[in-house]
Symmetry: C2
Subunit: 206 residues, 2 copies
């Protein structure tokens, strides 16, 4: 049976993954838990404990094999099963996310964007077309998309969420600073930027 | 003595704050813990426990006074002491963050943006000017800024962080998908978008 991995561990593993990408780009083949720990300013015993949760972590006498460890993280966290998604809201944040190629490396495959602005509809961003929002229900069905990254302004966030729910969207990654009221069976992940800032701010003032 | 509030509680309190803003806009004066709990799909005893950490939470016989509860969250989480900051990187994400007026409500005061692109330098975004990065050390000193939101591409993230550290920046809110190597005395908060996605993705697949 698969062991449940905690949120904090998932978070650390993705940071290790970033570091491994940097090492690969620099053509370094081996990495130690101490190197990872120093970059993240955490304890190296924590790093070893996290890595012990992975299968085939590439441990050797001199450290870990960078490529193997990277693959082990990807397999464990399920990057191998990409999820298709739409971005709803083609403002700056929506465009930034559409350009964020890193997503695909992590199993998030953004297929298209949606907006109401006629100036945006028809534009192509990073090979993804911007469609009018009215096309969403049909395209979601055709493309089998159940996940949306919601980047609309707060003032229309709930109205848009209602529309998405009616279009059979099941998973909403909510980047708008608004708490959405959705029925059972729909999952919302609040990308609470202000919450994150306040952690940071609280941490540095205390 | 001030009680230490956990990261998860801070996160929930900021979501309650979002809900309170919505209630204020709808001219509703009273809110119950059950209403908050239902919107967030959490237990109402958790909501009451979190609110019990606040001073002057505005509790009455029929619920909480919306305005008082909002103020209590702001006071407890220190929104009242704004922090000045710069955005480094005037790409889509930098622009999205510059336009995000909500920040100021939470005590984050973005004063200016910086970039190397001559086409961006001199432009004004949401009343904030984009300066050439070479002006940063001088302006940081003049304006007393110690915090930066880093939104540059991954390929230049470390080089830019080194420059910021040399410019006496002490706090880096890192939006680039890169782990930064900084000396002691500099705090980095990794806005690990992929980590957040993987929590969500892991949660919905298990």
């Amino acid at each position: 049976m698969k062991e449940k991995i905690s949120d904090k561990t998932i978070n650390r593993l993705t940071l290790y993954h970033c570091i491994l990408n940097d090492f690969i780009e620099s053509n370094i083949n081996t990495i130690t838990s101490v190197q990872i720990a120093n970059l993240l300013k955490i304890d190296d015993s924590q790093v070893r404990k996290d890595i012990s949760l992975l299968q085939n972590s590439g441990k050797s006498r001199v450290g870990y094999c960078v490529a193997d460890l990277k693959k082990a993280i990807e397999t464990t966290l399920g990057f191998a099963h990409p999820k298709n998604a739409f971005i709803v809201g083609a403002g700056n944040l929506g465009l930034a996310l559409a350009k964020y190629d890193n997503f695909l490396n992590y199993g998030l495959n953004v297929l298209a964007l949606f907006d109401v602005d006629p100036l945006k509809v028809g534009v192509t961003i990073n090979k993804k077309e911007v469609y009018h929002i009215s096309k969403l229900p049909e395209l979601a069905k055709q493309m089998g998309v159940q996940m949306v990254l919601l980047t609309v302004p707060r003032s229309v966030a709930q109205k848009t969420a209602d529309f998405l729910v009616n279009s059979n969207i099941k998973y909403i990654w909510n980047f708008s600073p608004s708490v959405l009221d959705v029925p059972k069976g729909v999952e919302v992940w609040n990308e609470n930027l202000m919450g994150n800032f306040l952690h940071f701010s609280y941490k540095i003032s205390n």
